[in-house]
């Protein structure tokens, strides 16, 4: 036993010597460690089950799918598939896998692994919350229901080719395949009935899983045989720190290299210390005040909703009252998403227009309006937003009350049931896009098929908008789709607004100055792949 240990030591020394000999600088390079913070343990490390940013933060670094999103431009780019073709009818996707993709256990990634991984997500027992991502594939539903033993629309003609067939064209399909859930996993690990993979995931991404100390940290190590080249960061430590204050102290003390929460801009002492390290950049989400359009007075009264929009001063709200957070919104689709229209006029603050529209809506100077309550979920910021809106509306003669309710009661009061509208006449809400496609915000929030608790809480129904959203799905050409989405916004923002358009969200992240290669991604700091990062600590 002892001899074995000595041998192992010797082998390590020799290997280390070889490695040093190969590297270009003879001096041993300092280990590059990147430490970032999650608020708590990710609920799962299984790509099929990941349904939140924290899980994705790990999965996106351990795993890779056929395609991935460029975190900067949000364009789809090759991952395990080195290339792909889409048939002219938009129904057949043929992926060519790259030669050098290897799982962390050393085995080469083959087309059979893709088939296995996709079947795994669609299998009923897996219970994946993101099954819908693959449901556009022909035969997916039959496979899930058990009426078919295989998925008709997936085939692997050879080791390096995967063909996916859809019953009808579905434009966001490729975007959906970039999601963390569509990762390719090795069958030998993920067939384990004891589910060991839940604690020790195996993928083909740039970092391999090393260990997980629950409630404390997760450690990832650079994977030498990553097809994209070994990452510059040798070790990633993901630290679980719940309190924002402790996390900030830890960042100041040098225990974290980045942090997703920044100090309050009013805290001048703290801002003096770290203010220069704050990065602000758009995040694909939109904040709004929804109207309940199933009941009076907002039902069928677009002029009234327009009046509310003109009355609210979004510039003051986000630039002066609560600075540093969000960007005043002019519409629905946030910047960075195909279809975002920077030329959309939106509703700049204009009290005169608000007053005349109010009169046109049948409530001159607010006379005749029933009592209106604006619901917000409990929280200092929400209350402040609500009070500001209340104050703005009062100036044109609209009196509303603010109701602050805890989350469960809030959701019930806002969404109602399928048949009965919620009690709230107005409510504050925000939406983060699941995947970077305009469909991921327009369909859940405004399409009449998602009426009620499914997402369209305000019960917006505009047949023109419905048609355009549906048509965009069948339009493979990106420019043509973008035009359709711009048309949707012209109607759903300018003519028949379902909301007060409040904010395009922004990310605010602290990065130490020595962290290089950071992409300020609209996907947020958690969905950022770390293989391009490097640490440059100056002369030391």
């Amino acid at each position: 036993m002892k001899r074995l240990a000595v041998l192992a030591l010797l082998a390590t020394v020799i290997l280390a010597g070889l490695a040093c000999g190969r590297s270009q600088t003879p001096a041993a390079r300092a280990e590059q460690v990147f430490r970032f913070r999650l608020h708590e343990d990710p609920p799962t490390l299984d790509p099929a089950l990941a349904n939140d940013q924290f899980s994705e933060a790990i999965v996106l670094n351990v795993h890779r799918g056929l395609v991935e999103l460029d975190p900067g431009t949000l364009e789809v780019r090759p991952a395990v598939a080195e290339s792909w073709t889409i048939s002219p009818d938009g129904r057949t996707y043929t992926f060519r896998l790259r030669e050098g993709a290897v799982f962390h256990n050393g085995r080469t990634v083959t087309a059979a692994d893709v088939v296995y991984s996709f079947e795994r997500i669609l299998r009923k027992e897996t219970n994946s919350p993101r099954r819908f991502l693959l449901e556009p594939i022909e035969g997916a539903k039959e496979f899930t229901e058990g009426t078919s033993a295989s998925i008709a629309g997936i085939s692997a003609p050879d080791e390096r080719t995967v063909v996916l067939r859809l019953p009808k064209p579905f434009a966001p399909f490729l975007s959906q395949l970039t999601m963390a859930n569509a990762a390719i996993v090795p069958r030998e690990t993920y067939q384990d009935p004891a589910k060991g993979y839940l604690r020790a995931p195996v993928g083909c991404g740039p970092f391999r899983f090393s260990r997980w100390e629950q409630g404390n940290f997760i450690e990832l190590l650079a994977f030498d045989r990553y097809y994209g080249g070994r990452p510059a960061i040798d070790r990633v430590v993901v630290r679980m720190i719940e309190s924002a204050t402790s996390a900030l102290q830890e960042y100041l003390a040098g225990g974290l290299d980045s942090l997703d929460e920044t100090p309050d801009p009013g805290d001048t002492a703290m801002m003096a210390k770290v203010g220069g390290e704050i990065q602000k950049y758009p995040f694909i989400g939109t904040g709004y005040i929804g109207f309940n359009m199933a009941v009076a007075p907002f039902k069928g009264n677009a002029a009234l909703r327009q009046a509310f929009n003109y009355a609210v001063d979004k510039e003051y709200l986000w630039n002066v009252l609560m600075p540093g957070g969000n960007q005043p919104a002019s519409g629905i689709i946030p910047p960075g998403i195909l279809g975002h229209d920077s030329a959309l006029p939106g509703y700049p603050h204009d009290e005169a227009k608000a007053r005349s529209l109010l009169a046109k809506a049948g409530f001159p100077a607010g006379k005749g309006l029933p009592p209106i309550a604006l619901w917000v979920n409990t929280g200092e910021d929400n209350r402040k937003i609500a009070e500001q809106i209340q104050s703005d509306l009062k100036k044109v003669g609209i009196n509303i009350t603010v109701r602050e309710v805890d989350w469960a009661a809030y959701i019930a009061g806002v969404s109602g049931t399928r048949d009965k509208p919620g009690q709230a006449q107005m409510f504050r809400f925000g939406w983060y896009l699941d995947y970077p496609d305009a469909d991921a915000i327009l369909r859940p929030l405004l399409h009449s098929s998602n009426w009620g608790p499914a997402g369209n809480f305000g019960r917006y129904k505009n047949s023109e908008v419905d048609t355009l959203i549906d048509r965009a799905l069948d339009t493979p050409d990106a420019q043509a789709r973008a035009d359709l989405y711009r048309k949707v916004e012209r109607i759903a923002v300018m003519d028949d607004p379902p909301w007060i358009f409040l904010a395009y969200y922004q990310s605010r992240t602290l990065y130490k100055p020595y962290v290089k290669g950071v992409v300020l991604s609209p996907l947020g700091e958690f969905r950022l792949p770390l293989d391009r990062l490097r640490i440059e600590r100056g002369a030391t």
Partner: protein, 305 residues
């Protein structure tokens, strides 16, 4: 024999009640003047309590300045004006709720104390029930029952419907101690010679209660009422602080503290000002009540006026 040390029976000194009455009355007086003349006062040297007066280019709260003597709050509204108008809400709630409690409590206490027997036993068990009931729970129950005061049957006619809920809570909680006190006084007074004489001369029950017994119970009632107003103001602030009382944008002091707590370290005036106001007005009522208790104590032979 141990000497009696109960504060109520301690021989009162001359200066203490007078001092606390003077102090208490002046504190209360200041706030009463604020409340009565709030619009006049704020027109004269402050602003409308709902106007965002801070410059539209500076992130509020702005610090105290010549234009805003106590600074502005998180939405840029003048703190001083809000405090003055807040006094209106606080006193309104304190006094009106106490009147509700006094009317209810006196009526029930009189019936119990005068009739005795089963009626007395029943009413006193009800009183015990209310006294034993945790106040916050009752408050939450009432708030749950009236989630939309703006469209509730009677409350919606009030100038501030959400404050109406506070009246309900305080009135429902406040009558019990009054009822118990009145009933106790009646039991005592009923046996005294003047009451016996009135009864013997054939005085009717209402006459006996209203003209003979109630005046006798007036002195302790005044003390209880004064202390009660202070307690009500505190409770109103507490309910509003929790977000179940007066609703924004009403300048209730409790609401103001909630809104200011986020700035506690960086911009303390936003929550210290309403906090101090609550302390002072409640202190005023308590001093006044204590002073009156001493001054009106039968052993000193004090008079109501």
């Amino acid at each position: 024999m141990t000497p009696v040390t109960s504060p109520a029976l301690r021989p009162p000194t001359l200066s203490r009640p007078r001092l606390s009455i003077t102090l208490g009355a002046s504190l209360v007086g200041i706030f009463v003047v604020c409340a009565l003349f709030a619009p006049l006062l704020t027109d004269w040297f402050a602003h409308d309590p709902y106007d965002q007066v801070a410059p539209r280019t500076v992130t509020p709260p702005t610090p105290p300045s010549r234009d805003n003597l106590l600074g502005t709050d998180g939405l840029g509204r003048d703190m001083l004006s809000r405090l003055i108008h807040g006094a209106r809400i606080s006193l309104e709630v304190g006094i009106v709720a106490e009147i509700i409690a006094l009317v209810l409590g006196t009526a029930l206490g009189s019936v119990a104390g005068y009739s005795g027997g089963r009626m007395d036993a029943f009413l006193m068990r009800c009183t015990d029930l209310v006294l034993a009931f945790p106040g916050p729970l009752l408050a939450l129950a009432i708030i749950a029952a009236v989630p939309e005061p703006e469209s509730a049957p009677i409350l919606r006619h009030l100038p501030h419907p959400s404050v109406g809920v506070v009246f309900l809570v305080l009135g429902c909680l406040g009558w019990a101690p009054v009822a118990r006190l009145v009933r106790g006084e009646f039991l005592r007074l009923r046996e005294l010679e003047f009451a016996q004489a009135a009864q013997a001369l054939g005085a009717s029950a209402p006459r006996l209660v209203l003209l003979h017994l109630l005046p006798g119970a007036l002195r302790p009632l005044i003390v209880v009422a004064t202390l009660g107003v202070g307690g009500n103001i505190l409770l109103e602030a507490w309910l509003s602080f929790l977000g179940v009382g007066a609703r924004p944008p009403l300048p209730s002091w409790g609401v103001m503290i909630t809104e200011g707590q986020g700035y506690f370290l960086a911009k303390p005036w936003v929550c210290l000002a309403p906090g101090l106001a609550i302390v002072l007005v409640v202190l005023g009522f308590n001093l006044l009540g204590d002073g009156l208790a001493d001054r009106l104590h039968p052993k000193r032979g004090g008079t109501v006026l």
